[in-house]
């Protein structure tokens, strides 16, 4: 095995949480393959009826990366979740792009999520549209964009999200409801693109 990346990971997480946004690309580069591997492994041994939970995915990634540095306290769990959520988003968006989904005149088309669980998920979400909306939202309110990532891509609860972002649960809830409602309107075409 090549040298464990966790030392670098720790450093990058610290940098990122202290506002060094240029640490993020490298962070993702480190976390991305691990998440992908975990997802693939889960799927290969999956039996009917078993579905990989996003929290489990992110937790397992965290455990694996943390264990690679046993001697050190490595408990930036909350920071890690923030990165992981972003990585999951990136995995999916990159994948959708790679599949050649392109914009057409009347809005984005691409991967329609959740066909297999149509009864559970109320509405398929176009991933590329969602991504574009999050980019816009980031400009309006970066915290709300993080909240959506953690809730939707990492599957965190309101309280877990609050912990990960070090804000109050009520702030998370307020931001979440406003953000997702705005995203829905954006995806519906109720709002003009900037």
């Amino acid at each position: 095995m090549s040298s464990p990346p966790s030392e670098e990971l720790t450093r990058l997480l610290h940098e990122w949480s202290n506002g060094h946004s240029d640490a993020l690309p490298r962070l993702m580069e480190l976390v991305y393959p691990e998440l992908h591997r975990i997802a693939a492994r889960h799927l290969s041994r999956e039996r009917a009826g078993h579905t990989l939970q996003p929290t489990a995915l992110v937790n397992e990634a965290y455990m694996r990366l943390a264990q690679q540095q046993p001697g050190k306290q490595w408990n930036d769990r909350t920071h890690f979740f923030a990165v992981a959520a972003r990585v999951v988003r990136a995995v999916l968006v990159d994948h959708a792009r790679a599949r050649g989904a392109v914009k057409r005149g009347d809005g984005a088309v691409g991967v329609e999520l959740a066909e297999a669980h149509a009864s559970v998920a109320a509405r398929p979400v176009d991933l590329l549209d969602l991504d574009a909306a999050l980019v816009e939202l980031e400009a309006m309110n970066a915290e709300q964009s993080r909240i959506v990532e953690l809730r939707y891509f990492a599957g965190l609860s309101i309280d877990e999200t609050a912990e990960a972002l070090a804000i109050s649960p009520s702030t998370v809830k307020r931001g979440w409801l406003a953000a997702k409602t705005w995203i829905r309107r954006r995806l519906d075409g109720d709002l003009a693109a900037p």
Binding site: L43, T51, A114, H117, V120, R184
Partner: protein, 875 residues
Amino acid sequence: MTPERWARVTELFDAASQVPPAAREAWLEAIGDDELRAEVRAMLASYDTDPGFLEQPLAAVNALEQAVRDPLTGRRLGPWRLVRKVGQGGMGVVYEAHRDDDAFDGRAAVKVLPAWSAGTLTERFRFERRVLAGLDHPGIARLIDAGSGDDGLPYCVMEFVDGAPIDAWCRERSLPLGARVDLFLRVCDAVAYAHQHLVVHRDIKPANILVTGDGRPKLLDFGIATLLEAESGVAIGATRTGHSSFTPEFASPEQVRGDRVTTSSDIYSLGVLLYVLLTGRRPYDLAGQPPLEVMRAICEVEPARASSVADTSTADALRGDLDNIVARALRKAPAERYATVAAFADDLRAWREGRPVTAVPASMAYLARRFVRRHRLLVAAAAMVTVAVVGGGAVAVWQARIARAEKASAEARFNDVRALANAVVGPLYDAIAAVPGSTAARQLLVTEALAYLDRLAALSADDLDLKAELAQAYQKIGDVQGNHLDANVGDVQAARVSYGKLLTLRQAVFAARPGDDSRRGLAQAELLLGDLALGENQLDDAVARYTRVLDLITPAMKKAPDEATMLMLARAHGRIGVAHGWAGRTREAAAAFDRAIAILEARLARTDASPEVNQSLAATLSNSGDIYYYAEQFDEALGRFERALDMARTPPPGTPESTVRRRLSQALIRTAAAQKEVGRLHDALRLETEAIALLEAATALDPKDVTVRFDLATTRQNVAITHLRRGELDPARREATAAVALFEATTAASPGSRQFQFDFAATWTTLGQIELAARRFASSADAFRASVELFRDPRVAERKQTERLTAHEGLGDALSALAAETGDPAAAREAVAAYTAARDGFAALVATGARTAPGATRAAAITAKLTRLAPEVAP
């Protein structure tokens, strides 16, 4: 939206959410900023319509799962966007797809073919694709498109069928037996349609037959295997027995062996399907078996009878006819299965309607029972059949008595049975032969009688007379089975076996009693085998047989030969000429015809020549003229036709009036046709008018004579051509339309003859040319389409390639003119397809070496038209 404004919206939205719905409107009115109020109102409305939006993070993970497991969903192939994976098979993964542009409405199924089939698409792939795209049948999912994606991944786009696999569909509804058979018959119709268009499915199985909500079965993947084979050069199925996704249970023995796959393989797979539908079981249990064991089971093991594996509730209904029908479809040797899907379906329909089925073990009692029931007029004959059955029992009794050495009584029995069997083969056979539609009955009758004679012959190996009788019986059954000059059941394989036995017997007789009679008998057997080969277009085999006839007869010619010997010799030379002519070897054909003509002329010079010599010479002249005519050496053809015409005008005394009239009209038609080709249109019209008068008189005399009516139709067609050449379009159309009507009426009364089918097709071509000249393009295209349709029958097309391709070219001419006139892009597309078919056909003729020079010229001319019409298509 600015962050500041958005913060304000967030705040107000949150506050509004806390307000009870009833009070909300008043609360909103209190907002002073109109825009802000509208914004918050819209937010509330949006939230209320879908409060669960994004609340389900599972959705994201499902996408991740899918991303890892199935990298194609969401991808685009050409204009198609893959939306959802709907199935996976040995030959690729199937997706539901939508088209991004508006050119095609609705959804489709896209089959992404396996990577090993990737590569540059070949010309043949495109050709096959066009053929498949032409399949238009309600029971077949249409091939809409095929091509390769940006990265070369090949795919086929098919009509999307929303339905359940046929076996599951039947099971879920507990469909009764009769309804299952009816459903299966619909599948047969679709397969038969495809076979008529020369497309073999190769992978018929329940997963490829979906039944839609309204109960209609639709076949998927028609010809996809062929497409793949065209693409990769790899035989599908044959080499993939061990592949996990292969379904060997439905594959025929020839498929698992890697032998040539034909329509008969589909018939086998249909047999397996029927077995499954009727019994709920597969004929072989191959699960988990190693590939060699699978192969052995399919190629060697006889499956259990359907009735023996079915539930007790259905077993009774299956026992007998249905068992026999399924067993016949599942025969290991393709030649022993049903010859066509239509024959298979006919038997099932017969079972549905309580008529006798053809798939029976040869049991005369069975035939007698059914035959008498349906044909009361034949009760007398059937009574004799029953006697023959008793005779069969007598053989067994007789054999038992031999064992007890009661020899004298046994010999009496022997002679009784022999006389009875010979009566069956002789007078009874001839009596039944006179009954229209009795071909199958005749076959069974002779088969059964032969079985007795065979047993008798085995008991009495040295009896040459018995051998001669046996030979006679074999010749008769061979004629019924496959002599193309006579009404026959089209079982050429069986005829070959019978004639082969005839040959063996005649060889034995000749070896024991060498002499002119036995020599001629042997030569005749070879001649019949040669005719069989000729009928099957196995021209080299035919020439070899006829050459053997010559080798046998020629020694006898050194002595003063009798007329029968000379006639046979001339016949063999003449047939060699026909075979060479059909093979496009005009020079060899001419030499052979010249020999035949010389022999006959020499004989005719003698005063004691029989009328048969006269007739034989006229026929040989006519045949040789045909060969020159089709080689487009019209002067040569005309010379021979004119001689034949002279002979027809001076018939030998005593020839029946109807025969004279018929021969004369034939000679007139041929001569006129050749005259037209050398520009003597006026003479041609005169002869054709004479022929029409003759034939109309004959029709009036015997309205039921189908042959005369066909001749009349052909002649009217010829007159139409003559008028067309003279630019007289109205009379041309009148004659051609009359000819079509005659053909239609007569074909309905007597379907199936190859030559008549060809003439019918040629008449449509003529009508198409007339309408084209009259600038009635749509009507012209319709006529050419009818011609192309008739030429699809391979038996019609095989020797008339030029005519067939002329019809395609004519269709192209009509459609491109129509497209130019109306601007209809569909017409232009169809024109391109028609021209391409014509050009490829001519190119293929050149490639095979038959008709090189004219073929190349025509191909070049069509390519030029194609280039004008669609520069991007022409190479």
